[in-house]
């Protein structure tokens, strides 16, 4: 600090920072990217370990014997599902009651803002069925949840079978200290949302549901099971929840520990942990796994039925059974024993899971990167914005004085508030239009164009997004005078600081989203001035804009999942991703769509304005 309080040295420091601004920025950017890529390198990551004492040292024995019977129940469930053409409510109620549970149902209905073409639903009506296993000598204060979705078609019947089989087995045990709720939810996430809102008696998304009749106190943890085959080769753990929230890392550790103990192959992002970190393919495997997690987290949507629990501070994960062509298979009894073990350990919990990390990335199921290690990557990118802001600030505070012919020094007039405020307000109004109009104007669009409602919404959004590019010309028509040299600098200063705050906040809540946005927006924010070549820069800006980032992310994600798509398919997927994003916001309260429309897009428009500053 002595460096700064000495005016001479301060001047020297600032001089150096402004003179070397561009190289420093370049170095920061490359260092940030390199740091991020280094996170997947095994020597730089930590091995996962169980932090919770209550789950670590205590031993449990898994004795679940009835996998075959559970599968038979699953087949019976499938038959009844087929017969009723949906959730077999009566059969489930009877079956759960016969297993000695307290059974309740919940009806719900929801009209989507526009038809969901992926899942083919618009007016959704359904029933959740849940049975509560009351723990002996416990006062109904704590509960655990095991859920399985009742999916259309032939899916997840085995999951419901194992759920009912476990219910029967758990019921005859004396050691439970927490109530266990066995939930079969219809219409996947919509049913789950209705049940959770009913359980906590809140209504954040305007859904209609009937109140719950029975509860088990505060829910400590939840697992959601998805299983569509009688045998599995591996189990996949899904952690990413709504708005990029993750469950406590101990839940993942618990799953891994039991997979090891029982001898089941376990994966995350569908990728097995590998040991050959020192080879290129091993490293690239880790990078792929981590990038998949980053992309999923950045998407802000729940990647399994567990995703909605996290809002209520309930640690939850989904376990998906995968049946591939590997020869070694795991039967239902083993899956049941794995779940039994996990529930017995969760039953031993004295406190909520809180000992381990809530913010982490996983380059494999056995390795993790905690917030302390990945934040510098983002910090390096954010530093660029601050350096640029400093540079602009210095330029503005010591204006280059021009000398006229008479030798009189003329200080350029500082730009009016109006010239800064106008682009700011107009770009935000465009953002508001992007947020509200697509859903509001769907009927109008359907009347005039030969498209379906869903296409209408998505295409309106794209149209408004593209129309925003014409703004600079219109903004200037509103302005009285010419934009000055000082004007764009002030505007850019504001825009750069705005972006820094925006990305900083986003990265704190959802690192992946913040980092991906920073990766594309920061270079653009750093180099844009009115004096760069217009056409080339405009092309670069459009490529780096949030909308196209999403398109690239879609292709990249498909590539990582080893299901590459053609351009045509990719475009269709892109359209459906946009509609899903809007639906996620309306149905579950995902924040990505409002964030992108109301804040990120206007911020990008500001830079677009600067490029076309006159």
């Amino acid at each position: 600090m002595g460096l700064l309080s000495d005016p001479n040295r301060r001047r020297a420091l600032i001089g150096m920072l402004t003179r070397l601004n561009a190289p420093i920025c370049m170095i920061c950017y490359m260092a940030g990217v390199a740091w991020f890529m280094g996170l997947a390198f095994e020597p730089f990551t930590l091995r996962t370990y169980m932090s919770e004492n209550a789950m670590g040292s205590t031993m449990v024995e898994e004795r679940f014997p009835a996998g075959e019977r559970a599968l038979a129940t699953g087949r019976e469930f499938a038959a009844h599902k087929k017969k009723t053409g949906g959730m077999p409510v009566d059969w489930l109620v009877r079956t759960m009651q016969a297993r000695g549970l307290e059974v309740y149902t919940q009806r719900f209905s929801r009209k989507l803002p526009f038809p969901d073409e992926d899942k083919e639903r618009y007016m959704v009506k359904g029933t959740n069925v849940y049975g509560i296993l009351r723990a002996p000598r416990a006062p109904r204060t704590e509960a655990l949840v095991l859920s399985a979705p009742c999916s259309p078609g032939n899916e997840n019947n085995q999951a419901v079978g194992i759920l009912l089989g476990l219910a029967q087995y758990f019921r005859s045990q004396i050691y439970w200290a927490k109530d266990i709720i066995f939930l079969v939810n219809e219409h996947d996430l919509i049913g789950m949302q209705a049940w959770l809102e009913g359980y906590h008696h809140t209504n954040t998304t305007g859904m209609d549901w009937s109140p719950l009749q029975g509860r088990g106190g505060s829910i400590q943890a939840a697992l959601s099971l998805e299983l569509s085959s009688d045998v599995v080769t591996s189990l996949d753990l899904v952690l990413e929840g709504l708005n990029g929230q993750l469950p406590n890392l101990d839940l993942a550790n618990l799953f891994y520990a039991f997979c090891q103990k029982i001898g089941v192959l376990c994966t995350t992002q569908g990728k097995l942990p590998r040991n050959d970190w020192d080879t290129t393919s091993g490293y690239s495997h880790a990078v792929q796994t981590m990038m998949l997690m980053v992309l999923k987290q950045a998407s802000s949507r729940p990647w399994g039925d567990h995703g909605l629990f996290l809002r209520y501070h309930i640690e939850a994960a989904s376990i998906k059974g995968v049946n591939s062509f590997r020869p070694y298979k795991t039967d239902a009894t083993t899956v049941g024993r794995l779940l039994e073990g996990m529930y017995r350990k969760l039953n031993n919990l004295l406190e909520r899971l809180h000992q381990s990390y809530f913010f982490y990335l996983m380059p494999s199921l056995t390795r993790f990167v905690s917030i302390g290690y990945y934040m510098p990557a983002f910090g390096l990118l954010a530093l660029i914005l601050l350096l640029r802001a400093l540079d602009l600030w210095v330029q503005l505070s010591s204006p280059p004085t021009r000398t006229t012919e008479d030798g009189v020094e003329v200080v350029p007039a500082s730009p009016g508030v109006l010239s800064i405020l106008t682009p700011l307000v107009i770009s935000h109004l465009t953002g508001v239009a992007l947020y509200t109009l697509p859903v509001l104007s769907q009927e109008l669009a359907v009347e005039h164009f030969p498209v379906s409602e869903t296409e209408a919404v998505v295409l309106t959004a794209i149209a408004i997004y593209t129309a925003g590019l014409a703004l600079p010309h219109n903004t200037h028509r509103l302005l009285a005078g010419e934009g000055t040299e000082q004007g764009w600098k002030v505007l850019k200063l504001v825009a750069v600081l705005y972006l820094a705050v925006l990305l900083g906040c986003t990265a704190l809540i959802n690192f992946s989203l913040g980092f991906i946005l920073a990766l594309t927006l920061v270079p653009l924010a750093a180099f844009i001035t009115p004096h760069v070549p217009k056409t080339l820069s405009a092309v670069v800006m459009v490529i780096l804009s949030p909308g196209l980032t999403l398109l690239f992310a879609v292709f990249f994600f498909q590539e990582l999942q080893e299901t590459p798509v053609t351009l045509q398919e990719g475009w269709m997927l892109y359209l459906s991703v946009i509609s899903q994003g809007i639906l996620d916001h309306a149905l579950y309260g995902s924040l990505l769509y409002p964030l992108a429309a109301l804040l990120v897009y206007p911020c990008w428009l500001l830079f677009w304005n600067i490029l076309f500053w006159k």
Binding site: S5, P7, G100, T141, H200, H201, T202, S218, H354
Partner: protein, 567 residues
């Protein structure tokens, strides 16, 4: 009269006791098969002593009445004492009403005599002494969880004290009940666990159940129908429910041996009456062996029930095998249970760690009768109730309580107390909601396991429920013990108490694992970062010429004299 007799007793203790036993002991076990296939066993042990604890005479000669308890009652001038330890929650909708309700955890309520001047001090001492007697954490009862209910807890014995400043009520919802509480409780019995019904009380089976509750009730009762003199009554009760699936291996077949892993061979020799009742009202559904010719009827909780009675004082009850092991076997799977008229549930709504809402639902299942209930909830201070958000509604309409007694909390001193008299419309659900804010505690106030959450004790709903059959108001009749606990004043209704679930609420909790990091970081930031940054922001810096040397200063002085410009 009693005092004179006591003095007499003291001089001729042994002889006198044989002639006129002043105390009397009865034991009783009621077995009720439940519709869910579970089985409910309720023990009651009653000791009545015609001694006057209230007078100034010291009572020092104890026979059947436990001395440890008698001394406490005398020392602290206790008029009535009710203490219960419960592990589990009574499932009203599956099991019907219990004979004696109790909330999960420990509950203690005491009426002191009106001679007590420092009630709070006496209460504090009493809880500590009881803590020792029952091996329980009753010493955690302090002013932050003690309330003085104004209407919900009236004296159950005789006595016309209604000034509730002599009443103290507290619950410890977190108290865990186990063997160490059972042993001291059994020690209070005259036969201990050596003979009589108490041989069944083996902890390995009692704690392999779904519900366990043990209680001690001390109260003054009338000695004779005219109620000229009073006696002290001590009732020890123990209720236990065995589960069909975990204890019964899923078979609807119960026997004493299956429940307690013991059979009965004799009555307690000190007991004047020792009986086992089996509720056979739903007899077609199950058979009972050995059959007993003795049947009795009693009106319990608004319903006329029929009981088979085994009198253990009669040798015939034990049959040829000299042991009684009655067997109940269901014939049909299940029938419809008489739906309990009153039940309730409670839960916390909302998410996040800032605010929340407590919902209490009270169900009146009576098809056409409305009846009033008293709702009492004591909420710890760290949930700051917003009492202006209190709403009571039934059937979608506002339901104004006719009486509200609210005592606001004081931080770290006393809890909220909310008592309301509500009229429940027939066949309805009444919902009481109140919002609250979660307080941020001081860091020493957190429990060792703060992420477990903090408990809020059960709400108490006391009601006079309309009875289907005429209640028995005649107390002189020799009734079974379980039907005569709550005094009954009118024939058309009976008194009932329902406890809601306790709540587990999470409070905002700091990360206790890193205070060291936090302290270091904060100190560094304050000392280095903040200080110098503040310095930079508030001061302006200018280049100052270094002070001139001595030679130069002298030269300047000379120059000033000469009138030439300074150097």
């Amino acid at each position: 009269m009693a005092i004179r007799r006591l003095k007499h007793t003291r001089t001729h203790a042994h002889a006198c006791m044989l002639q006129t036993p002043l105390d009397d002991f009865q034991e009783e076990l009621v077995i009720r098969p439940l519709h869910s296939g579970d089985i409910y066993a309720s023990f009651q042990f009653r000791t009545v002593w015609d001694a006057d604890f209230m007078g100034d005479q010291k009572v020092s000669h104890y026979r059947l009445f436990p001395k440890s308890l008698g001394q406490v009652i005398t020392k602290f001038s206790v008029r009535e004492l009710h203490i219960s330890f419960t592990q589990g929650y009574w499932r009203t909708m599956q099991w019907g009403q219990p004979y004696l309700p109790s909330p999960p955890g420990a509950e203690l309520w005491v009426w002191f005599q009106d001679t007590v001047t420092d009630v709070d001090g006496t209460w504090k001492e009493l809880t500590n002494v009881l803590s020792g007697i029952f091996c329980a954490s009753l010493n955690f009862i302090d002013s932050t969880n003690t309330v003085q209910p104004s209407a919900s807890f009236k004296p159950l014995g005789i006595g016309n004290v209604t000034d509730h400043s002599f009443l103290r009520y507290a619950t410890l919802p977190r108290e865990i009940v186990c063997t160490e509480n059972l042993t001291p409780w059994k020690k209070l019995l005259p036969c201990g666990s050596k003979a009589g019904l108490s041989v069944l009380l083996k902890s390995e089976k009692l704690f392999h159940s779904t519900f366990h509750s043990q209680a001690v009730h001390v109260r003054p009762v009338c000695q004779d129908p005219q109620c000229r003199t009073t006696s002290m009554e001590l009732r020890q009760t123990l209720n236990v429910v065995f589960d069909l699936h975990t204890s019964g291996q899923g078979k609807r077949e119960w026997s004493l041996f299956k429940m307690f892993s013991r059979t009965l061979t004799e009555a307690c020799p000190l007991a004047s009456s020792s009986k086992v009742y089996v509720d056979v009202t739903d007899n077609p559904q199950f058979e009972l062996s050995p059959a007993t010719p003795l049947l009795t009827q009693a009106v319990v909780l608004g319903d006329r029930r029929t009981y088979s009675v085994y009198d253990l004082t009669q040798q015939a009850s034990f049959g040829s095998s000299r042991s009684l092991n009655m067997l109940l076997r269901w014939k049909a799977a299940d029938g419809e249970m008489l739906r309990p008229l009153l039940h309730s549930e409670r839960y916390v709504a909302g998410y996040g760690l800032q605010a929340g809402e407590i919902h209490t639902l009270i169900y009146n299942h009576h098809p056409y009768r409305a009846f009033p209930v008293l709702l009492l909830s004591a909420v710890p201070w760290y949930l700051r109730l917003y009492i202006h958000t209190l709403t009571v509604s039934s059937k979608g309409k506002d339901n104004r309580p006719s009486y509200i007694h609210y005592q606001p909390s004081k931080d770290r001193e006393r809890p909220h107390l909310l008592e309301m008299l509500l009229q429940l419309p027939p066949n309805s659900v009444t919902e009481v909601t109140v919002e609250f804010e979660r307080a941020l505690l001081k860091w020493t106030e957190y429990t060792p396991d703060p992420n477990h959450g903090f408990y809020v004790g059960s709400s108490v709903i006391s009601a006079l429920v309309p009875s289907v059959v005429a209640m028995d108001t005649n107390s002189t009749l020799d009734r079974p013990l379980f039907s005569s606990f709550f005094p009954c004043k009118e024939e058309a209704s009976y008194f009932m108490r329902v406890y809601t679930e306790p709540l587990l609420v999470n409070l905002p909790t700091p990360d206790f694992s890193m205070p060291y990091n936090v302290i270091c970081l904060t100190c560094t930031v304050v000392a280095v970062g903040y200080g110098s940054l503040y310095n930079l922001l508030t001061r302006t810096f200018q280049v100052d010429e270094p002070s001139p040397g001595l030679a130069k200063r002298i030269a300047n002085v000379i120059r000033r004299f000469r009138g030439v410009p300074l150097l």
